[in-house]
């Protein structure tokens, strides 16, 4: 019987395993060093905040795996020997495969700062990172102050986490607005203000220069490039993630930033596939990045590669871009492409509406000439995925989209709606233009 070995039990690897099981009788083994069972990485924050226990993060009950004949092995893969189709594990034992799926995910990206080795410096990606945080920042007596480097989605999660334990948090953000490498300026500004309203000391246009330690090797402060010294007991490094590929050196599997794959998610070695955060497309698909470290893309690659492995080859051809996040109390959803000021396409125009209470806004991107709807960001307002997906597929005009926006509403019943305000603002903006 064909043996499919999957390295990594995150959303990508587990989705692939489930779909291979649905479509075949192959022997399936998932190897993970991080945890015995699949858990939702995006929910790690809720364990530290006391909303859930770690076991509540597991999307499937423990009996699910044996019931579906998916073998789990907790081990660290040290080397991949593609010639002999063998994996060498850290404890010295080996495992052979017929088909190998690499779904090893990401590790925090760091940029050669001094002091990274000090106690109290950490990222927030893995289960081990969460355990380390529980040690480094159990409460505000052991850890009165923290500095978070980087203003992205993990950074704001870490800030919210530490805030629940009344730890004083300072964030260093290189840009003028929060996550403005991705968000248009107006959206980024609103999020910045919201984060500040939660008593987070948000420092814009500041970058880390060096982490300073004490005699015991613990963090005592950081220094910014502008020369500010900020004392702290914890430094959270949240300047993005990079593919986990170091163990592939010498395996013959071609890598760049990530593991290079074609549209069938195959690597340059026969019977070896890569999916999720660790995979890198030879050429970017549409406007997407070649490496996509997002829950949803990991899942989609898992769904796709399973078909290919089970005999119905499908190219990875994701549909319209979508994503979501939450910044403290403000939910964010995006459908299609709304680019930041820096990355905005020459043809791209934005319509922006913000509620006076500063907790709700939308930005709609459209084509300047054709007025085609390109994408939407919503903050504090929920939108219906299938309606927006349909509008993007059928190339609706921005005018139609704004006019019918209420149809895409996904807020709970009885919520106040703002579509008439949005429509009025839109006609106002159009008549000026």
């Amino acid at each position: 019987m064909e043996h499919v070995v999957i390295v990594g039990n995150g959303i990508a690897g587990v989705t692939a395993a489930r779909h291979i099981r649905k479509n075949s009788d192959k022997k399936i083994t998932i190897i993970s060093a991080e945890s015995e069972h699949f858990f939702s990485r995006t929910a790690l924050m809720y364990v530290y905040m006391g909303h859930m226990r770690f076991k509540d993060l597991k999307p499937y009950e423990d009996h699910f795996w044996s019931k579906n004949r998916i073998d789990l092995k907790q081990a660290y893969v040290k080397k991949v020997d593609t010639a002999n189709k063998t994996l060498l594990l850290a404890k010295g034992d080996t495992i052979t495969y017929d088909t190998l799926i690499l779904a090893t995910g990401s590790v925090p990206a760091t940029y050669g700062w001094k002091g990274l080795e000090l106690h109290g410096v950490q990222g927030l990606v893995s289960k081990q990172d969460l355990e380390l945080l529980e040690k480094n920042a159990p409460n505000n007596q052991a850890c009165p102050k923290a500095v978070i480097v980087g203003g992205g989605l993990i950074g704001v999660e870490l800030a919210e986490m530490l805030h629940t334990r009344k730890i004083e948090v300072t964030m260093l953000v290189r840009e003028k607005g929060f996550w403005s490498s991705v968000l248009p300026e107006a959206d980024a500004q609103m999020i910045s203000e919201h984060i500040k309203s939660h008593h987070i000391n948000l420092l814009h246009e500041e970058e880390l220069d060096e982490i300073l330690g004490d005699a015991q090797g613990n963090v005592r402060a950081i220094r910014t490039k502008s020369g500010k010294e900020i004392s702290c007991n914890l430094v959270g490094i949240t300047t993005g993630v990079k593919p986990k590929i170091d163990f592939l050196e010498g395996s013959g599997i071609a890598t760049d930033k990530g593991i290079l794959v074609n549209r069938l998610l195959q690597t340059n070695q026969a019977h070896v596939y890569a999916i999720g955060d660790c995979a890198q497309q030879h050429e970017a698909i549409g406007l997407r990045k070649p490496v996509e470290a997002v829950w949803y893309t990991g899942r989609m690659m898992g769904e796709t590669v399973a078909q290919t492995i089970c005999g119905t080859p499908f190219e990875y051809n994701p549909g319209n871009w979508f994503n979501s996040a939450k910044f403290f109390d403000i939910e964010y959803q995006t459908y299609g492409w709304v680019f930041s000021n820096k990355n905005k396409k020459p043809y791209e125009a934005h319509f922006h509406w913000k509620h006076p209470d500063n907790t709700k806004c939308i930005t709609i991107a459209y084509h300047k000439e054709t007025r085609a709807f390109l994408g939407i960001n919503t903050f504090g307002i929920r939108m219906r995925h299938d309606v927006l997906d349909h509008w993007l597929n059928t190339r609706k005009s921005v005018d139609e989209v704004v006019h019918n926006l209420a149809q895409a509403n996904f807020d709970p019943e009885f919520f106040k709606s703002y579509y008439s305000n949005i429509n009025a603002a839109f006609s106002g903006a159009n008549s000026k233009a």
């Binding site: 939702s40 995006t42 929910a43 809720y46 905040m49 006391g50 909303h51 859930m52 226990r53 509540d56 597991k58 999307p59 529980e134 040690k135 480094n136 159990p138 409460n139 007596q141 052991a142 850890c143 629940t164 334990r165 009344k166 309203s197 939660h198 004490d214 015991q216 613990n218 963090v219 005592r220 007991n233 949803y296 899942r299 989609m300 769904e303 796709t304 078909q307 119905t312 499908f314 990875y316 051809n317 549909g319 979508f322 979501s324 996040a325 939450k326 403290f328 109390d329 939910e331 929920r382 939108m383 995925h385 299938d386 997906d389 597929n393 996904f410 807020d411 709970p412 019943e413 009885f414």
Partner: protein
């Protein structure tokens, strides 16, 4: 320089303590409770009415002040920080103390009310006497243990209702729903029945009737003394009797078809009202395992069968020995029940067979056979009805289900098993509404395409123990018999994935092989297979 001793702090000690306002509020509330406890021992330090007013006000203000301390300085949004760290909400020491105290209270209330000072022959004493003045204002009669319980129950729903309103002030669905249960408890469960008692005289004898309390939750509604009471009370009484029958056979099916069982369970019902307000801090304690779901289905439907058999037996018995009093005869009634159940079952089988899982079908067939066999045995033997005397069935049901299950376990164990144990495992009304919600209703929780990140907040905070995430991560809408539509899964979802709604019945579940967002061709290929 750092003075942190890292080796001293290996385990986390997140802030779970109360702030000053909350401490004051706790002292005030507990003080009010102590006044009530003192009254049990006939301690009287001041005028009865003043004593009662002080006690109830302290409890109410204590709860409201506690909520102020908890939420006033926080921004609107989800407030679950530290839920699993606090002793009261993580099955810690305080949870067990609270659970045992509540359980003890229920045991005394149901079985030893004389300990509270109940005296049906003469003057009340103790705690119950303390409530006499209030009871006399409302109904004109002295208090009973049920009046004491009803008053405290209403105060709990109002006080903790305000807490809930504060906690979910950003969510209009939650606010309206909570105002609704607060209203129905105060008006329908507490005040109206007391005022109705004022109408009674020698030839006008309305039974105590909480109009929103529908059979079979109100399992005693068609017992002889009540039916006689209704009939003796002229057209008002008759109207109420007809309303009681119409509630379950006409009103309930229509509203459940349009809105799902939530119209009752989380907007109107008193048990639900307490669970959603005082019980809210314990919602995450429900068991989400598949095993618990299996137990739930067998237990709750067994209770439903039990209550149908019991009520049929009780009604048939008095129709039998007092036959000259009623136009309905026992035989017609029994044949009517048999025909109704067979027709109902036949229609479900005919139209909805596909939607019933294997074990549900076996269970349904089994139960129908049992009920019909019992009615059949009655006609062939003619003597003891249903093998066991109806009175034994009635008292057994009242003891096991009415008292032990709904009160002692259902509410007493809030801090251990969660706040909806009764509603989930025991309530026959929920079972009927649930069957209907599963098979004939426009209600569902819609999953938002591919946006789920499997975080588990929805499942964790589902008080009914539904593994919401299991559906959401498959892109499948949630259509579950037990869902009471509290809306908390949708509220706690960080990615805007869930929405409670009433819509077309076609494609209500809308299951997909591959989630929205992936390759259109792949979705087409898989969804066609």
């Amino acid at each position: 320089m750092s003075s942190v001793q890292r080796d001293m702090s290996l385990t986390g000690q997140p802030p779970a303590a109360l702030n000053t306002i909350q401490k004051l509020a706790t002292a005030l509330g507990v003080g009010g409770l102590l006044l009530l406890v003192l009254a049990i021992f006939n301690v009287r330090l001041m005028n009865q009415s003043l004593w009662l007013t002080t006690a109830l006000t302290s409890i109410f203000v204590g709860i409201v002040l506690f909520s102020y301390g908890a939420y006033a300085d926080k921004q609107a949004g989800i407030k679950n920080d530290g839920v699993w760290f606090k002793s009261i909400s993580n099955r810690g020491f305080l949870a067990w103390v609270a659970g045992l105290a509540l359980t003890g209270f229920y045991i005394v209330l149901y079985f030893k009310a004389e300990l509270l000072g109940l005296n049906t022959e003469g003057e009340n004493s103790g705690l119950i006497a303390l409530f006499d003045p209030l009871s006399k204002i409302l109904s004109g009669n002295p208090a009973s243990q049920w009046f004491v319980y009803g008053t405290l129950y209403t105060i709990a729903i109002l006080g903790f209702g305000i807490k809930f309103l504060w906690k979910y002030r950003h969510n209009r669905y939650e606010r309206l729903r909570t105002l609704s249960v607060m209203f129905f408890q105060t008006a329908f469960a507490f005040l109206i029945p007391e005022f109705m008692a004022r109408l009674n005289s020698d030839d006008f004898n309305l039974p105590y009737y909480d109009l929103k309390n529908i059979w079979p939750l109100n399992y005693y509604n068609f017992e002889q003394y009540r039916v006689d009471g209704f009939i003796s009370s002229g057209s008002i009484g008759l109207a109420l009797l007809i309303f009681g029958i119409a509630s379950i056979f006409v009103i309930t099916p229509i509203l459940t078809y349009k809105y799902g069982k939530r119209w009752y369970c989380s907007w109107v019902c008193g048990c639900g009202g307490l669970a959603e307000t005082a019980g809210d801090p314990f919602r995450h304690l429900s068991d989400k395992s598949e095993f618990a779901w299996k137990v739930e289905r067998w237990v709750v439907h067994s209770v439903l069968v039990f209550v149908v058999v019991m009520t049929t037996a009780v009604v048939a018995t008095y129709l039998g020995y007092d036959s000259e009093k009623y136009w309905l005869t026992k035989d017609v009634f029994l044949i009517g029940v048999a025909v109704f159940l067979t027709a109902l079952f036949g229609l479900i089988w005919l139209f909805k067979k596909e939607e019933l899982k294997q074990d549900a079908r076996y269970g349904a067939v089994g139960y129908l056979v049992i009920v019909l066999a019992l009615i059949g045995i009655h006609f062939s033997s003619g003597s003891t009805l249903f093998l066991i005397p109806a009175e034994t069935l009635r008292t057994t049901y009242g003891f096991l289900i009415g008292s032990i299950f709904s009160g002692v376990i259902g509410t007493g164990f809030y801090p251990i098993f969660g706040n909806r144990v009764w509603c989930r495992f025991g309530c026959p009304m929920a079972a009927i509404l649930g069957l209907q919600q599963r098979l004939f209703s426009k209600f569902r929780i819609t999953t938002n395409g591919g946006q789920c990140i499997s975080c588990g907040n929805c499942s964790s905070y589902c008080e009914m123990g539904i593994d919401v995430r299991a559906y959401a991560q498959k892109g499948e809408n949630i259509v579950r018999a037990s869902c009471v539509g509290c809306g908390i899964c949708s509220a706690v979802c960080p990615r805007g994935v869930l929405k409670l709604e009433n819509a077309y019945t076609e494609k209500r579940i809308n299951s997909r092989e591959v989630l929205l967002g992936n390759d259109v061709d792949l979705m087409d290929y898989l969804n066609q297979n």
